[in-house]
């Protein structure tokens, strides 16, 4: 097991190198002159030159690249251009609020959609199945912005069920503000989740072991919840684990709409302020998170499915 994890970690090195090259090329080579952007619209050429020097942009590209690598290894991504805060601190402070939105919402959405998909598989091709399928497709055809706008306008503004936006840093107080974003998060994931899990279960349902179980006289629901669900664990785990990095990164739109000081809101703010270092760091960190969870999902496969051996 540890040998496997170690080897997989080694495999990650070239990809990690690729990600550093990608972000570096994007922001230092393609991105034009960051000094002009950082200086603002009314800067004189002397001021721009000064900023260029202070940011180290007058050095050769390979020196800048090694500086970037140094930043990564020391987890010191410099400071934000707009707020002057340390980027790593911003990131670590944003994780809490982001997770307090996404984690409960994600758990609710997964349990809800997996159970619903099992029911759909149980009564496949019934009217209930077809109506739900069409509803899911229709839900997928709406932009996520529409859900947020509708939720904020109808549920918060008109019906006054939730506060429109806001944030309370204390653990007890924040739930008041998290209610609506959580509802919308769940709504947003319904369509694609139900369709995905339904396909997973339907793929499983024609296997021989299901026929055997039926022949033994087990009832259909028992087969679904005991046998099919267990055997469908691999695609479910893949999907769940692939969503994990996004939970830490938060939700760009939800956080910026509802004023939640998480990482997603941070990114939106950075885009509006053309805050290159923040976006650069977030691009890199999200890639690292993605790789870590990829590894975790590989290890989980072996835990769930004894047929898979990690070597």
């Amino acid at each position: 097991m540890f040998k496997y994890i170690f080897r997989r970690t080694i495999y990650m090195v070239p990809i990690l190198f690729g990600v550093t090259l990608l972000t570096f090329t994007l922001f230092h080579v393609v991105g034009g002159d960051p000094a002009v952007l950082a200086a603002g619209k009314h800067a004189t050429p002397e001021q721009i030159e000064l900023i260029r020097q202070s940011l180290g942009l007058n050095r050769p590209l390979y020196v800048q690249y090694f500086q970037f690598l140094h930043q990564i290894f020391t987890l010191d991504f410099g400071r934000s251009w707009s707020s002057r805060q340390n980027i790593w601190t911003m990131f670590t402070q944003g994780v809490g609020p982001s997770l307090s939105l996404t984690l409960p919402a994600f758990l609710i959405a997964e349990v809800l959609t997996i159970s619903l998909a099992l029911l759909l598989a149980r009564w496949r091709d019934s009217l209930f199945d077809r109506v739900t399928k069409i509803t899911c497709l229709a839900m997928l055809s709406l932009s996520s912005l529409v859900y947020i706008l509708w939720g904020q306008y109808v549920l918060a503004y008109k019906w006054d069920i939730f506060p429109i936006s806001g944030w309370d840093p204390s653990w007890a107080g924040r739930w008041e503000f998290l209610g609506l974003p959580i509802v919308i998060f769940v709504l947003l994931s319904l369509g694609s989740n139900i369709l995905f899990f339904r396909t997973v279960f339907l793929d499983e349902i024609y296997h021989d072991y299901v026929r055997t179980a039926r022949a033994k006289g087990l009832n259909e629901s028992g087969i679904l919840f005991k046998h099919v669900l267990r055997n469908a664990m691999i695609p479910i785990i893949t999907r769940v684990v692939q969503e994990m990095p996004f939970l830490i990164l938060g939700s760009l739109l939800l956080e910026s709409f509802f004023g939640i000081p998480g990482i997603g809101g941070l990114v939106v703010l950075a885009i509006q302020n053309a805050d290159f270092p923040v976006i650069k760091a977030m691009t890199f960190l999200s890639a690292v998170l993605y790789m870590i969870f990829q590894l975790i999902s590989d290890v989980l496969y072996a835990v769930v499915d004894p047929k898979i051996q990690l070597r």
Binding site: G18, V30, Y157, Y206, I271
Partner: protein, 303 residues
Amino acid sequence: MKEISLSSPLPWQEKSSEQKGRSLWQDALHRLAKDKVAMVSFVVIVFYLILAALSKLGIIFSNFDLVNNEIAYQSPSWEHWLGTDLFGRDVLARAAHGTVTSLTVGFAGTGLSMVIGTVLGALAGYFGGKMDEAIVWFYTTIDTVPYILLVIAFSMVIGSGLNTICLVIGLTFWVNHCRVMRAEFMKHRDREYVQSAVSLGASHLRRIFIHILPNVSHLVLINFSLGVVTAIMSEVMLSYLGLGVEPGVPSWGMMISDAKLELSRQVWWGLAGATGFMFFLVLSLILFNDALRDALDPKLKNK
């Protein structure tokens, strides 16, 4: 051994006249034509294409840029079916013109990504070896960055505007398609028909593009129609983030983003117009993609 006399038709020649000589594409067309949902969604997509073309040519809804500050934010009426926006412009006309923007982003952006994905996937799958390793490394790297952040990073450094959005989507969306193409080319490169092409002296490029590509082109079409949906959705997202089309260009993304301010003034028709237009296009594209997949890949359907 059972003897087969040559005068009677051989077992594999005993096909009904209807099935005779039908290619995969003709077969698929036949299946699509029988699929009611596919036909309806296809008609809707064609309707949008015509709407976009006529709007672009200025034949219908030519009043989309007509500013009249006196009638700002008027609710729907007989004169303006979907009301007017902040500058008194007709919302229905702007939503219709938004079709042009969305379809441009959808078709041009996805088209570019299909070209990149197909070429890289073909090279990786066909040649294998070092070439394959390099291309796989390249797309794994790009795939490691979450799509939304990748699009944001690209847009931030390249800039905003309609052409740039097409470019950004083209440069970021090709990874999945490339992976599919690579697997297909690996499967096909050792097949008999390619070997016979080799013996006829076909060059590598000829084998890739003339012999193998037509046999995997249905996957390009499926991925393309799926990509158009993602591209249209991405345009809305980018517009909200301020990385959208140039100000003044009519786009559903801009209209939906503007609704954030409009809703606080009880102005709902801008959002309704853009959402309605987008909903039917995207739904038709999704349904058509589904039907296309079933029609072109009958093995999947019979499972």
